[in-house]
Amino acid sequence: MDIIHTDVLVIGGGLAGLRVAIATRRRGHEAIVLSLVPPKRSHSAAAQGGMQASLANCFKGQGDDEDVHFADTVRGSDWGADQRVVRMFVNTAPKAVREMAAWGVPWNRVERGVRTAIINGKSVELKESDAAHGLIDARDFGGTRKWRTSYVSDGTGHSMLYTMSDQAIANQIPAHERTEAIALIHDGDRCYGAIVRHLVSGKLIAYVAKATCIASGGFGRIYRVSTNAVINEGIGTAIALETGVASLGNMEAVQFHPTGIFPAGILVTEGCRGDGGLLLDRNEHRFMPDYEPEKAELASRDVVSRRMEQHIAAGHGASSRFGEHLWLDIRLLGQQHIDTKLREVKEICQHFLGIDPARQLIAVRPAQHYSMGGIRTDYRGESPNLRGLFSAGEAACWDMHGFNRLGGNSVAETVVAGMLVGEYIADYCDSSDSDCSFSSALLEQSWKQQERYLSGLCDGRGNENAFELMREMQQTMTDKVGIFRHGERLSQAVTDLQSLLARSRRIGVRSQLRGANPELVTAYRVQKMLKLALCVALGALRREESRGAHFREDFPLRNDRDWLVRTLATWPDADSTQPSLDYEELSVMAMEMPPGWRGYGEKNHIEHPQTAQRQADVDAVLQRSDLSDRFARQQALMPYLDCLPPKYRGRNQRLGEQES
């Protein structure tokens, strides 16, 4: 048995994992990053549109600050988010963008003078100030009241990931590429690292660490139509679930992005609509204002995706031989804008649709995009059930997105979480809690169990086909656990997935190769993915309300009275075919912003009994004359600064804001 020791084992080399590794390395702890692929190929590279942070540099960003970003994010989450975590996030996001700027990201910059922009279908002139010249620019995104999304053309994630990855190299952090964590080493109370399979040699290696951090990204590939990379299979999330003790939060909260190109599902960024692009139907009619007069194309993603599907169902979709779709029109932005700020979009349209988006319409339809749910952690990123296990980025649910994430808030989250959770992991490694002496029998047992398991898949006794099971799972999820959900279809999905899971336990792998063996990889992954799919489907079935991206046709209202709770899924019995679900209440009385209308989408909801009282408390605080400024008022409503590592508690400098 090969054993590798380190202080911090980071599972994932995307933005979140790399930033965690850099943070802990700088605090003097050794870190190793594991990744299925070279870190720069992680899916973070595909983020196009940008990163939210309330810098308020550009004209349409004026008046923005942490408070506005906070309110937008909480509304976007449909009040599912942990508001304290959102506060930590919005205060750190400007620091994260500025740090990335110092490290080399070529953010687009504000240019002084008059510029033309397309807003709500019309060309308008905006005047940028001299003071803002050369500071970081921002574009508009859905569900935000200010232009807040910093961007690098439409290659934001690429630039960020390359900069971050090169910083990791500069910090001499080893990245063990083409490795896959397939199980955690733990004793039911404490995590000690992971059993890792080398994807080239097939070797199993035990990585022993004081702290283990899962930053393995989303699990979009449990769906057939997804914007996600093919490696986004959620294995990191699944191995946490397979401990039987660590819990996954809100797995039913799955985001569908309005503009996946049709039928391939490849994303064209929300920046297309942020920059002024419109959605049209078969008659080239702009339909979004009919449904959403306030925000039109720039309502939150869950709302826009639903309206699109509703419009298609009403018979207004354009038809093609692949089925129905709608159109995204960015012709009005002009060639010059597309050539400089939407270049990836242009290339994607050329390669995969054979069209020029400056002259032709883009066929689009909503596609699975983002996993709001994930490994449940506290605000420090640690699992409440398994000490020494941390998580950050899309894989985690510390819960800043609730039931719907805003565009641009995810890459921002990856870096912010990397900064904060990285500090907390370093604290943990500094403390005696992280003492890593444990029995070698446990280690050996964990390793042997995986060795036996993998041999079992290849022993020639199984007869089920892994690829087929994968296809069936993905089809079931897309057909029955999509944008519009219904109790009947959901229970059918749960039954189907359970039978697939049972079948997956009889998979037979034809090729005996232990090294680069794609069939073997699919075999063990599909078993894990089916468990995640069951958490999503069962969570969706049990949640009898509609909130954010989770929409139930049979329970169309948001129900704060009964469902202002976070779903927690665990898998205590390995042989079972379904997870066990539990619920954690969100306290209205602790909220800085009690539940209300989001400002877009449905206006009705069932109120929580404490909402009125909490709103009265909040209003009273806002009236208090002894609270001199917004910081004092915020502090009186919901103190959170203590939750931040001391080095990140400072106030962010802004144009037009008094320094105090």
Binding site: K40, A46, K95, N108, L267, G354, N517
Partner: protein, 253 residues
Amino acid sequence: MSDLIATAGRRIRLHILRHNPQDPESQPHMQTFELEEADGMTLFIALNEVRETQDPSLAFDFVCRAGICGSCAMLINGKPGLACCALTRELPDDITLMPLPVFKLIADLSVDTGEWMRDMSERLQTWVQGSELERDLDRFEQTMEPQLARDIYELERCIECGCCVAACGTAHMRPGFVGAVGLNKLARFRLDPRDERDDAAFYQLVGNDDGVFGCMTLLGCEDMCPKQLPLATQIAFLRRKMARQGLKKNPEE
């Protein structure tokens, strides 16, 4: 709409170089897979179909399948390119696929570009080096001219796919050559005012035959770059700067 041009029904043949160095029994050989072309089929779709229905052991790499991540470069009918963006309808009935040369073979069409790129990054120190790296994050960012930011991004669009290296005469002969990918990166950092290295420092890194003087100006790199980066211009420019620097350092030469 050209995605409505039906191409379904054609039989295409993929001739693939098979070899798995991990398997002692394996000998490099060509293997042919025949399949029916589907509408809008890319090599990403075709190769997955072969793996799922004909040979589960076929190895290749895809990640984003959208031309963004650079994982799937291979020789397509002899030319380096990204397989995910290659539409079969733009290719003949017979398609030959080989792994990228120069890089270490993992199996079949999968090569280790990651290790090569990391080594290049370490040798060239492809990160901003300056005193402003650790700033007070509460304060305004340093300003930058908008055009300069765009110019830097132009060079930063490289996705480290390896096509330029596979297409480079020097890289085939000199294992240490940093390739257009490496030279372009240094051009990017040279342009960036946040990076405080001067030409003398850059000369130390690329003022030799593994660097900018190894380039034979065959232009394969720029022709094959899937992101259409201006590689030849950047290399020529860097070479002039480094040659001048070289003269400064060794005036007698």
